[in-house]
């Protein structure tokens, strides 16, 4: 910042107070010219959104056919009916989608806002130093805001921009505001783009303040699983997404040499962030001098789907909750087992008394003596101290006071199992459709195996217990039958590495754009898997083995840690952690998802030399046309997952989701029978040409893991793929189909432009099929395709969807 010197006078005025908000004049240190869209407003990128929606038709699957939002309602909107205000079903669904995306986006941004204030208070303004290998350091912020943040304070205006936009967007959902479904969707895309901005800001703030890894492919391997929590110590669980209080618990433990007395385990994304602290570049000094590598002392207790299983498995003595994804009956569940709970965020106070201003001793005493089941302590430092001291002090008292053993007795287990009347009420409400009646009946007959084999399929929602007319504590039956597994659930996970390094982009940029690295697969999200956590591991392994770049984050990264190969190695121990083919990267917590979408911007700017500054649609167009990336949210449950996926879509990244994701109500699906939908511009001369449908869909719902994997491979095709890339991508697409479907995919030929695109192992047969089934003309002498493909091979083809990218008009 340029220093402004000089003096000014205010004459004839008394008692004048001058507030200087921000000095706007700044020395320009960024040689990139400002792009067309700095701080885009709601309608700024509408043209881009409509291009996406023209190709990928919005598909709604209403969960509720009515609108009940105003006093004219309930209005029945089924079919072509309209509500009293005039809204139709499509617009109403778009409205709900926008609200969901806003929920997700604000959750991340509010997280960032809290960290912004807290970190400035605790550490002061810190320079954003991502190390020598990351010069493009905040790609999403650069692309959307058009600024290059230098210190934490530079994120202040970015967060204010976000907050203004979400306020405007939420206003649009009021009755009598927006009424067109495509405009609702454009707004949802805008909200979700902002979500990625909020995630990036949040993660950079915590990376800088807590000295987390900045693109470290060798980030430490940490312990993961309920069994890693040392029962000989007090166990403090920190649950949620915001490390402010949990990090203080770790610092307090370190400062007071208490690691031999307390184990700190995280649940959900706080677990990720705990294990990243102090593993970065060595600054700020406050962290590096006192807390170097402290993250390796924390443990990942587990992902969100394991929370209630942990409670029933009695793996905790005290719980600190912060924000996001905290099941709202946490207090009730913990109270039953005399586990004190400390709410540390204004966002989740659980009806508990606010004890922020009380002395620590008094608060701890009230919790340890069980005078109150929990407290709210909103000062992170105090909350951390209360958490650790309470856990240590309450541990011996819990077993004294608690009426029963946390696990059922053999006798009670039998009694409950035998009380099942096989009414199947449980199965009517079980999300993954576990045949709970059969499982319990087998248990009553002494066969616990079904309780074991379905343990990882159970999502721990507890709906079965609520439905059971016999009040059978089904999760406790599970805990009893799996108590050995709970004690021995000990695995390894690589700590979140943070963003992609510029050097990595230079290495993989060309292979990705040409297609010789077959794609980037991002496995993100939560624990609501349709068929168990094992699928997270299976999908990751399939694609790493095939040479894709596989990135993971959030609960999916934790869940895939729970399985090993024949040598007993988890996926993190089997493969290196760089951004490269046959590697698997743990990016970090939910907010680290921004580094995945940010990586596509970095490819465009570092590899292709495009200007990212305030240039969102250009970056998204490049991604859509040239970067074979596909997101997968196989356990997605939250509104945050909705906004993350929708934000990816605006960025041109297709996403595959699991069948429960129909609850999001909206998807984007291509029509391959409409040739005109796949018209694209050749940027060389502005001519409009037809292309194969690549990527075919933007938000795809798969029924099974097998279908998801086939679609992941398919959605990595891009119009820019060269022959070698096409051959590699076709090989994987066809091979996955043969492996899991027993046949070739019916549309493989669509992606062929030249005989050299054909995988060698099937080349002869494929050429025969092209001729016989699809009517292509084959020159058998030259083994060449004469006619038939949608497009012919053209090595310098430069596809774009944006007119201003045309270099020379025809």
């Amino acid at each position: 910042m340029e220093k402004m010197e000089g003096s000014f006078a205010v004459e004839d005025m008394q008692n004048v107070q001058i507030n200087i908000g921000a000095i706007v004049k700044e020395v320009e240190e960024w040689d990139q010219p400002m792009g067309p869209f700095p701080y885009p407003s709601i309608a700024t990128l509408r043209d881009w959104d409509f291009k996406i929606m023209q190709r990928y038709k919005i598909m709604y699957s209403p969960i509720c056919d009515r609108c009940t939002l105003c006093t004219y309602g309930p209005c029945d909107l089924t079919g072509d009916k309209r509500g009293a205000c005039g809204i139709d079903q499509a617009a109403q669904q778009g409205r709900i989608v926008l609200i969901a995306c806003l929920m997700g986006a604000t959750a991340h941004c509010a997280h960032g806002r809290h960290l912004y204030h807290w970190c400035l208070e605790k550490f002061g303004d810190l320079p954003i130093n991502m190390g020598d290998e990351i010069l493009v350091d905040a790609p999403i912020t650069r692309t959307i805001a058009g600024i290059k943040p230098k210190t934490l304070k530079d994120f202040g205006p970015v967060l204010s921009y976000f907050e203004e936009q979400v306020s405007q967007l939420l206003a649009c959902t009021h009755t009598g505001q927006e009424g067109n479904y495509m405009d609702f969707e454009s707004k949802a895309l805008h909200a979700s783009m902002l979500d990625h901005l909020g995630m990036e800001v949040s993660d950079i703030i915590q990376m800088i303040a807590y000295d987390m890894p900045r693109g470290d492919e060798n980030a430490p391997i940490v312990e993961c699983g309920m069994g890693t929590l040392d029962k000989s110590k007090a166990i403090l669980i920190t649950y949620g997404h915001n490390l402010a209080a949990s990090s203080e618990a770790m610092f307090y433990t370190e400062d007071n040499n208490l690691w031999d007395k307390v184990d700190i385990g995280g649940v959900c994304c706080t677990a990720h962030d705990n294990t990243r602290i102090g593993e970065g570049l060595g600054y700020p000094k406050e962290i590096s001098e006192k807390y170097k590598d402290i993250g390796t002392k924390a443990k990942v207790a587990g992902a969100i789907g394991w929370w209630r299983k942990m409670v029933r498995g009695d793996v905790m003595d005290c719980v600190m909750v912060d924000e996001q994804c905290v099941w709202t009956d946490a207090l009730a569940e913990c109270s039953k087992l005399k586990v004190p709970i400390i709410a540390t965020s204004e966002k989740i106070m659980l009806g508990l008394p606010d004890r922020t201003n009380d002395p620590v001793e008094e608060i701890v005493d009230d919790l340890v003596s069980f005078r109150m089941p929990g407290v709210a302590v909103l000062d992170p430092a105090k909350a951390g101290e209360v958490g650790v001291r309470t856990a240590i002090a309450v541990k011996p008292r819990r077993s004294e006071i608690r009426e029963a053993d946390p696990f059922l007795s053999e006798e009670d287990f039998k009694k409950y199992a035998e009380s099942c009347t096989y009414c199947h009420s449980c199965q009517f409400v079980c999300p993954p459709h576990i045949k709970i009646g059969d499982v319990v009946r087998a248990a009553a007959e002494g066969n616990y195996e079904p309780l074991s084999t379905t343990y990882e399929v159970c999502v721990g929602c507890r709906r079965c217990e609520q439905a059971c007319p016999q009040d059978i504590p089904i999760l406790s039956l599970y805990a009893f039958a799996n108590r050995d597994y709970i004690r021995n659930q000990k695995f390894k996970m690589r700590a979140g590495r943070g963003p992609v390094k510029d050097t990595e982009i230079r290495r993989v940029g060309a292979p990705i754009v040409l297609g010789t690295i077959p794609g980037i697969i991002a496995l993100v999200g939560c624990g609501n898997y349709p068929n168990g956590t094992k699928e997270a591991y299976d999908m990751a392994k399939e694609f790493v083995d095939r040479g894709f770049i596989v990135a993971a984050s959030g609960c999916m990264a934790m869940d895939m840690s729970l399985y090993t190969d024949e040598e007993g190695k988890t996926i993190w121990e089997q493969y290196p952690g760089a951004v490269d083919g046959r590697n698997i990267c743990n990016m970090g917590s939910c907010v680290a998802n921004a580094h995945i979408s940010g990586a596509t911007i970095k490819i465009a700017t570092i590899f292709a030399g495009r200007n990212e500054r305030a240039n969102f649609d250009d970056m998204a167009d490049y991604t859509l046309s040239k970067i074979g990336a596909c997101g997968v949210a196989w356990g997605a449950y939250s509104q945050k997952a909705a906004s993350i996926a929708t934000g990816c879509n605006r960025m041109g990244i297709p996403v595959v989701v699991q069948p429960h994701s129909v609850m999001y109500r909206r998807s984007y699906v291509g029509r391959t029978d409409k040739k005109e939908d796949w018209e694209i511009i050749d940027a060389r001369d502005g001519s409009k040409v037809y292309c194969e449908p690549a990527p075919e869909h933007m938000l795809y719902i798969a029924e099974t893991k097998e279908e998801a994997m086939l679609m992941m491979a398919k959605l990595c095709f891009r119009p820019s793929d060269n022959s070698q890339g096409r051959m590699i991508k076709l090989t994987h697409y066809c091979d996955i189909s043969m492996k899991y479907f027993g046949c070739m995919p019916p549309d493989w030929h669509v992606y062929v432009r030249h005989a050299s695109d054909l995988p060698l192992k099937w080349k002869e047969d494929m050429m025969k099929e092209l001729e016989a089934k699809h009517g292509w003309e084959i020159d058998w002498k030259r083994k060449a395709i004469v006619s038939g493909p949608i497009r012919k091979m053209d090595v310098s083809f430069d596809p774009t969807n944006i007119e201003r990218k045309i270099r020379v008009k025809k």
């Binding site: 598909m59 209403p62 969960i63 089924t78 795809y700 798969a702 027993g742 046949c743």
Partner: protein
């Protein structure tokens, strides 16, 4: 005596209550007659068939009456293993439903849009949502479920038979018999 498929007409996931328009449970004779009468029917089968393999055989029986089959997810594998691929098409339920909502779609065989779709063997929540799409955005297609669940967003469905596989299989056999008659 025919299986009473009109009982237990409550959504399989009990909170799945969409609104004023909810499916009616019909007996097998009526459903069979509707299928027989259809000009452009399409049987849509999902991956739950792998958990109840006898349903592959029943789907093939329906296929042999001339009703084309859309094999969603990786269900095609079950048909290949049984040597029946005559009129079986591999397509995901999601894109299939997307096509079904457009009146100008020409079908899997290029001969025109379908007038009746029959779902079975599909993950409940997914099938329900896809029925909802058709219910709201293409009401020209009759939505029929011959799955073991009461499907609230269908036009015609069985009541819940999920916990009585024998009865369920018998009910499907009755529909097939009607179709063949």
């Amino acid at each position: 005596m025919a299986v009473d498929t009109t009982k237990n007409a409550v959504p399989f996931e009990m909170a799945q209550i969409p609104g004023p328009e909810m499916a009616k449970a019909y007996n097998t004779a009526v459903i069979g007659a509707i299928l027989k009468k259809a000009k452009r029917p399409l049987l849509v089968v999902g991956a739950e068939l792998f958990e109840d393999p006898v349903m592959f055989d029943k789907a093939i029986e329906i296929g042999k009456t001339g009703v084309p089959i859309a094999a969603t997810a990786h269900t095609i594998k079950g048909f290949i293993e049984r040597g029946y691929t005559e009129n079986v098409h591999m397509i995901g339920l999601h894109p299939l439903t997307s096509y079904l909502r457009f009146k100008d779609w020409q079908g899997l065989d290029g001969k025109g849009q379908y007038d009746v779709v029959i779902f079975t063997g599909i993950f409940y929540k997914f099938a329900s949502a896809m029925f909802s799409t058709l219910k709201n955005f293409n009401r020209d297609i009759k939505r029929v479920s011959i799955d073991r669940y009461y499907h609230v967003n269908a036009d015609m469905t069985f009541g819940n038979l999920a916990f009585n596989p024998d009865q369920y299989h018998e009910a499907v056999d009755e529909v097939i018999a009607k179709l063949k008659a």
